[in-house]
């Protein structure tokens, strides 16, 4: 940009000065009192703001109700009437938190924004300002809504607190990388802090943004004086501090809360005659989640965890089929704790709706795991759907050199700003010689560049072949890695474990191959991070390549290395003792040794269930309190897992199916989760529908599964009504199941009132009810 662009300043406080009552929804004034809105705009026009922000910040259906179109059109018109040179359609947050922490889906948020964008574009807005975002996903929904429904340029700002992160944890570096990848026209920050406090954050934005940086701080930090919030940085001081940000490289400047036309006038004055610094567009290879970025500097390597993949993994298959992701979430956390930098996520099973499940799984994983994800699917529709809801900049695994793949995947990578894994194969298969693979890599590079995907976002997979079928090809793969690095300067990735397929002691081959691949320049290794052999090689390589400066990370990890002493059971077969004392380290061995002598069902019925019964009795008598009961239940659960892992099909039969759900409107579900674990302990198959579940979903699942018992929980007085509706929906659907209800505010009386068959006063009680129902 040749010149600075100056935005206007605060709106809310200016409206209040002109008579708006606190608590009023400002956007309603566009229709009820347009003159005062116009007066504020007029003052900013006179203060020489280049862009006037229309009064549409909260003009979405959720905050404003039915009048969105009218309010937005009026707002744009008012700004134009006030003499604005250019008018920005202002798009603030919806006011609802997105899934999985909140209840709103990405698509619902998108729809709210789409309505605003369509109205704003038709009314003649010149650009869109997506602002004050805390949630990267919500920002993305808004940005996509602008890009897909209008040709307007879009500026995006997030709001960072004094800890340098948004309320949802995004830092400026991650925001700059992820939002510039999405193709916004400017990225930056607004609100929360003053022009002095934002300085280090602006520096980060400038370092990582691939587009101009926009800064709209408050007039200082808020101060509470005589019970009222005020901002104390005056116009002159504001302008001076903003001038420093302009010198650093910020190009688009304005104000937020507490700033006035005076502040903007002063800003205009200090920038008069100055030219913006010439931008240096940074080039880097980076991937992000919503709160963490992995940037690969020259010579850096990264580990991609391979374990979230159903191929050859019974438990992952079961989890995907049941859409119950606890097992997979644990795999993710384990890999993250073991040192993975990125996680590959594959949900490819023939008999499931991969598109829906991959998308859902990506959301669930992002709620609990900070690592960037690699979206792994051969179905372009699944890739697109997962990329769309993904919070951050993902990697797509993969595109290949075939026309079909290039045409399907590259537009998705471009649109969502994802990096891509480029497989060196095409319509004629995998070339044996390294040169053949290089040629395909070159072709993909050319196609990416003409699709607008920067070369640093391309990661070439030279494809690992199995040495047990074609021994000489391992060397060819390594040669291809070297060629791709030398000739094309692209990053490379390999699925290391393939090399040993069909051989015994695969870890030995894999680790040798990993070390060799790293030595020829491999950048990203797809491995099982739970294997310490591989992670040792990675840690050592990072020392030898100088990535781990002064071997700090290595020393921290290995200096105090001692092998843990296993706890030895005194009496290895006394399951009840182990369960009551919650000694998880012992239960697995104890169950294993029992299984040598007893059948799986005998261990369950004669050992595990009596043990959890004993814990339940202690809880009833008041000898245990909740954490102790839960600790016992977890121990039993581990015992069950040993049995399941060993069991052949048919060895273990469940005692019947129970559906659990926290009713619509209620998001507190810890109680339900406690009940779930206990019922599983007793050998029931539990279908957990989660929280905030609509009545019709419960009814439908109950019919489909034929469950004999449905458990509903509600924690808030206000959601007891939803419980009543759910009971009615179940009855009306003709379900013959029994219904039990529980939750903090429920009583026996309430339970009767809502038409339930049983009232469960606590988790132990729910197990007794289940026993009655299933006999």
């Amino acid at each position: 940009m040749d010149n600075f662009i100056i935005f206007d300043g605060g709106m809310g406080t200016e409206l209040q000065k002109r008579g708006m009552k606190p608590g009023t929804i400002p956007e309603t004034l566009n229709l009820t009192d347009p003159e005062i809105v116009k007066a504020v705009h007029r003052d900013y026009v006179l203060a020489c703001a280049d862009i006037i922000t229309a009064n549409t910040f909260g003009a979405n259906r959720r905050k404003l109700g039915e009048n969105v179109r009218e309010a937005v059109s009026a707002a744009i018109r008012i700004a134009k009437d006030a003499g604005a040179k250019r008018v920005a359609l202002d798009i603030g947050p919806t006011g609802a938190l997105l899934k999985p922490l909140g209840a709103m889906s990405f698509d619902e948020a998108y729809e709210l924004f789409r309505e605003v964008v369509t109205a704003g574009f038709e009314a003649g807005a010149d650009l869109a300002l997506v602002e004050t975002m805390s949630d990267l996903s919500e920002a993305k929904a808004a940005i996509l809504a602008v890009k897909e429904n209008s040709p307007l340029p879009v500026y995006a700002t997030m709001t960072f607190a004094s800890d340098g992160r948004t309320f949802l944890g995004t830092d400026p570096k991650t925001a700059a990388i992820a939002l510039s990848a999405l193709g916004v026209d400017a990225v930056g920050l607004n609100c929360s802090l003053g022009p002095k406090e934002v300085k280090p954050l602006v520096a980060e934005l400038l370092r990582w943004a691939k587009c101009p940086v926009i800064v709209q701080p408050n007039a200082g930090l808020p101060v509470i004086e005589d019970g009222k919030t005020v901002y104390r940085v005056d116009a002159e001081e504001f302008a001076e501090l903003m001038d420093e940000l302009a010198d650093m490289g910020a190009v688009i400047l304005g104000g937020c809360c507490g700033t006035t036309p005076e502040h903007i006038r002063a800003l205009k004055r200090v920038l008069d005659g100055k030219k913006p610094k010439k931008p240096d567009i940074p080039h880097y290879t980076a991937f992000t989640s919503h709160r963490r970025s992995v940037v690969l500097g020259e010579g850096d390597i990264a580990v991609i965890g391979e374990r979230i993949n159903p191929t050859g993994k019974k438990r992952v298959k079961e989890a995907l089929r049941a859409r119950s992701y606890d097992y997979i979430i644990n795999e993710a956390i384990d890999q993250s704790e073991a040192g993975a930098d990125i996680l590959d996520v594959n949900a490819g099973l023939p008999e499931i709706d991969e598109r829906a499940i991959l998308t859902e799984l990506v959301g669930e994983l992002q709620a609990v795991c900070d690592l960037p994800l690699q979206i792994d699917s051969s179905d372009p529709a699944a890739v697109e759907s997962a990329c769309r809801v993904y919070s951050g900049k993902p990697i797509i695994n993969s595109v290949n050199g075939s026309e079909e793949s290039l045409n399907a995947i590259l537009p998705i990578a471009k649109k969502y700003g994802a990096a891509v894994v480029a497989l060196t194969l095409d319509e004629s298969g995998i070339p044996e010689a390294a040169e053949g693979r290089l040629r395909i890599a070159e072709k993909i590079l050319r196609r990416c560049e003409s699709a607008g995907i920067p070369r640093e976002d391309i990661i070439v997979d030279c494809l690992v072949m199995t040495v047990s079928t074609n021994q000489s090809l391992a060397r060819e793969t390594l040669r291809a890695v070297r060629l791709v690095k030398e000739r094309l300067g692209l990053r490379t990735v390999l699925g290391v474990s393939n090399v040993s397929f069909g051989l015994p002691a695969r870890e030995i081959i894999n680790s040798a191959f990993l070390a060799e691949a790293l030595s020829v320049g491999l950048d990203l290794a797809i491995i099982n991070p739970m294997s310490s052999r591989y992670m040792d090689i990675v840690a050592a390589h990072r020392v030898l390549s100088c990535e781990d400066e002064r071997a700090g990370a290595f020393i921290e990890k290995y200096a105090s290395l001692t092998s843990p002493k296993p706890e030895i059971a005194q009496s290895p077969h006394d399951i009840t003792d182990i369960v009551l004392s919650g000694r998880k380290l012992l239960i697995e061995d104890a169950v294993r040794s029992l299984l040598e002598r007893e059948s799986a069902m005998d261990v369950i019925n004669n050992r595990l269930i009596p043990a959890i019964n004993a814990a339940g009795e202690k809880f009833d008598k008041g000898e245990f309190f909740l954490p102790q009961l839960m600790s016992s239940a977890e121990t039993v659960k581990l015992g069950f897992e040993v049995i399941r892992a060993r069991a052949e099909a048919g060895d273990v039969t469940d005692k019947g199916t129970i559906i659990l759900a926290t009713v619509k409107g209620d998001i507190h579900d810890i109680g339900k989760n406690i009940v779930k674990m206990l019922l599983q302990n007793y050998g029931y198959r539990v279908i957990d529908l989660g929280r905030d579940v609509p009545p019709e979903v419960v009814a439908e699942e109950a019919k489909k599964s034929g469950a004999k018992l449905v458990g509903l929980s509600a924690l808030m007085t206000t959601t007891v009504k939803a419980m009543e509706e759910t009971v009615r929906a179940l009855r009306e659907a003709g379900c013959e199941c029994k219904i039990m209800v529980g939750g903090a505010v429920l009583t026996e009386e309430y339970a009767k009132m809502v038409g339930a068959d049983f009232y469960a006063k606590d988790a132990a009680d729910s197990a007794r009810i289940a026993e009655k129902v299933f006999g």
Binding site: G23, S631, T718
Partner: protein, 223 residues
């Protein structure tokens, strides 16, 4: 500023503890979760003073569009000289961690939840203490916190309280369609300032723990 604290006795109370023997494993868990909670939480609070007048339906905040409804609130504020609205939260990372713990260990999750309830109490007490300190010069002292959803003060007015405080922008608190706050560990309230501090009324109706309380669940109470 003094560091935030998690009161162990309070945490235990929320877990329904009644003097049972606490084994070393449970004790260890209590310590780990307390520490984790202090690390994950980003306590934030805000408050503002409003002029008010009693009306037939409740308490009108002068100069605003908002009337806080209900006779119970009116009773709570009878004799109050000043009125504050306040909001406090532990932030989203506590919710995120709860989800993670629930997938990993329910026992941990249960204890973590109790520790966070104890912490959010400390945070909002901090806000109240600050108001108290600032008002001491006027000879006033704060009474208890009264929140939307208590008695006949409608939960739906959570929306008004949060909007007036601009709690979404300042603290990151949002509402679900059912008027529940997210982050889950958030509280709001109306606070009165009195010349003579009224008797603290301890009862389930005015307890912020009532939705989680293990005693109440068992048809019992703590006080």
């Amino acid at each position: 500023m003094e560091e935030y604290k998690i009161d162990r006795a309070e945490t235990l109370r929320y877990l329904g503890y009644r003097g049972q023997d606490i084994d070393s494993e449970t004790l260890g868990r209590l310590e780990r979760m307390t520490e984790l909670c202090l690390k994950a939480a980003k306590p934030r609070y805000t408050y503002e003073r409003y002029d008010f007048e009693m009306t037939d339906v409740g308490v009108h905040l002068t100069g605003t569009d908002v009337t806080l409804c209900g006779n119970d609130l009116k009773a709570h504020l009878s004799g109050a000289r000043e009125l504050y609205l306040c909001a406090a939260t532990l932030g989203h990372d506590c919710d995120r961690l709860t989800l993670r713990l629930e997938a990993r260990s329910i026992a941990d999750a249960v204890v973590f939840n109790a520790a966070s309830v104890s912490l959010i109490e400390d945070v909002s007490n901090r806000a109240q203490a600050e108001i108290n300190e600032k008002s001491a010069g006027k000879g006033l002292s704060v009474g208890g916190r009264y929140s939307p959803g208590y008695g006949d003060f409608p939960l739906t007015q959570q929306k008004d309280v949060l909007r007036l405080l601009r709690a979404e922008e300042k603290l990151g608190i949002t509402l679900t369609d059912g008027f529940l706050m997210l982050p889950r560990k958030s509280v709001t309230g109306v606070i009165g300032l009195y010349e003579d501090k009224p008797e603290e009324r301890v009862s389930c109706t005015v307890c912020s723990m009532r939705e989680w309380c293990e005693f109440r669940k068992g048809g019992d109470h703590c006080g």
